[in-house]
């Protein structure tokens, strides 16, 4: 996967299997923003925790009844019950290694100064689910809709002693090319520019007249079944490619092929109709929606101008459960001044950037030019 050093609009394809008829997503994304795919950061203690925690420090430090546990690097009151995230299980402090016997703590016995009534529990977030996130205008084949971003939960499933992950970076391909490939009538390959006239002019079936030989083939008169022919076409194609292309040229050939072109045209048509502006939908694939789902979202920072509120972040009125799961996710923005961003900020930043480079309603040719031209927007 090609990762640009600056912000750059590029064509990105997401496919979960190698078969062309299976679900695919194709979109224009800015891979510079996260320097690749964005992965959610471990959730920090939330505000509620911080308030309780600060209060605890103030009260306990005044009585000198605390100590620093070196291994945990967190202040733990000895003998108190505490909730530590361990797959949602509660662990009492007795199971956590402490240093209460350490000689470096002089003074009164720690236990004696602890009031039983003051026992309090620290609640951590136990749902530390990892999500992969790609902002940008993506077209989803299964739902026939464009979305503002793709959010995929990263988990693993053990099948027959083999770990099968729900998401692998291999699923994401950056289709960054500078020129396309086309096949001439004599079967030779040549480089061409990438525009609406030349897209989709590469097909291995066109490479030579060999492909017409089957018409004289006796077997064609009988309808063939796949079981007799399995692997045959794949092997023929690999032989043809071997004669014509180096691995470096493969990406050009792939992007110039009919399948990617078909996908891309669907996306371009959608951009033609609806322009570069937030769709108010994201694609999500997680344990609730293992097959992927497009959900409607609202961007509260856009709405707050209208209703004069100070709310920010995405809201999902139709699915509060998902809203709770994903609205607190944060990612590390690595371009410009790096900081922590949430889903809403990322999506809106990406749209501002894309509008800056291609405008609000670009033509198909303008989008194609942007994807190969490498024009970088400062």
């Amino acid at each position: 996967m090609y990762i640009p050093e600056a912000q750059k609009a590029g064509l990105v394809e997401l496919q979960f299997t190698v078969l062309p008829e299976d679900e695919w997503l194709i979109g224009i994304s800015d891979l510079g923003y996260f320097q690749g795919i964005g992965f959610s950061l471990p959730l920090a203690f939330d505000e509620q925790f911080n308030a309780v925690y600060e209060d605890y420090i103030i009260r306990s430090s005044s009585r000198d009844s605390m100590f620093r546990s070196e291994s945990e690097d967190i202040l733990i009151p000895s003998g108190k019950s505490i909730l530590v995230p361990s797959d949602g299980d509660l662990i009492s402090i007795d199971e956590v290694p402490t240093h209460s016997d350490s000689s470096e703590f002089d003074g009164p016995a720690l236990e004696s100064s602890i009031d039983e009534e003051e026992q309090f529990q620290i609640e951590f977030h136990s749902d530390q689910t990892l999500y992969a996130f790609l902002p940008g205008i993506f077209y989803c084949s299964k739902h026939n809709k464009t979305v503002d971003g793709v959010l995929i939960e990263v988990n693993h499933k053990e099948i027959l002693e083999q770990t099968v992950p729900s998401f692998k970076p291999e699923f994401v391909t950056t289709l960054d090319i500078h020129s396309a490939l086309a096949i001439d009538s004599d079967g030779s390959v040549r480089e061409v520019g990438y525009d609406m006239k030349t897209v989709g002019k590469f097909a291995t079936g066109l490479i030579s007249t060999e492909s017409l030989e089957f018409l004289q083939d006796e077997s064609i008169r009988e309808p063939l079944s796949f079981n007799d022919a399995a692997f045959s076409e794949e092997n023929k194609i690999s032989k043809k490619l071997l004669k014509l292309l180096s691995p470096e040229e493969l990406k050009q050939a792939y992007v110039s092929g009919a399948i990617v072109t078909g996908q891309l045209m669907t996306l371009l048509h959608d951009i033609n109709s609806y322009g570069i502006s937030p769709r108010g939908r994201i694609y999500i694939k997680n344990s609730k929606y293992p097959d992927g789902q497009v959900i409607e979202v609202e961007y509260q920072s856009l709405n707050c101008i209208l209703d004069l509120s100070l709310d920010a972040g995405i809201s999902i009125p139709s699915d509060l459960e998902i809203e709770h799961d994903i609205s607190k996710l944060s990612f590390a923005k690595l371009i410009g001044c790096s900081r922590e961003v949430d889903i809403e900020t990322t999506i809106l930043d990406t749209y501002y950037y894309l509008q800056g480079v291609i405008g609000l309603s670009p033509t198909k040719d303008e989008v194609l030019e942007l994807l190969v031209g490498g024009s970088s927007f400062e």
Binding site: V18, L160, T173, A253
Partner: protein, 140 residues
């Protein structure tokens, strides 16, 4: 019994091909020979999936794909071609896409049926692996 047989066949195939490649026993000049030498791995993967299809359910294709990918990586490593692993997903998808068109042109109408998906995944990986290994042998 059958699944145990299929599983051990698979590991035996992988080991055999890895040894053949490391000892340079496979003649790289002919695509057909390499493809034939690599095919037992993918045939045994198909066998594993078929014997476990009931248990795998909707995960069958995902599992097939993971197994094919891991096997291809292992073969590329034994041929000291680790740098080509990055090209593997794209070339596999390319071949799978072109092959789907080619089967239709040839009039093999049932090629896109649900039941053949695993075979097509395995076929695409086999062809991609053949291409990548042979291409690396061609003097540039």
């Amino acid at each position: 019994m059958s699944e145990l047989y299929a599983g051990s066949t698979y590991s035996a195939c992988i080991d055999m091909v890895r040894k053949m490649i490391m000892n340079k026993q496979i003649a790289y000049s002919a695509p057909d020979i390499l493809s034939k030498a690599l095919s037992p791995i993918f045939l045994s993967i198909i066998q594993i999936i078929e014997s476990k299809r009931q248990d795998l359910g909707i995960d069958a294709e995902r599992f097939a794909q993971t197994l094919c990918f891991e096997s291809s990586v292992s073969i590329l490593e034994s041929a000291s071609l680790e740098h080509l692993i990055l090209d593997l997903p794209l070339i596999t998808r390319f071949i799978a896409g072109e092959a789907a068109v080619a089967y239709s042109i040839r009039g093999i109408v049932d090629a896109l049926d649900e039941e053949h998906k695993v075979k097509r995944i395995a076929g695409a990986y086999l062809a991609a692996l053949t291409y990548l290994i042979l291409n690396a042998q061609i003097p540039q």
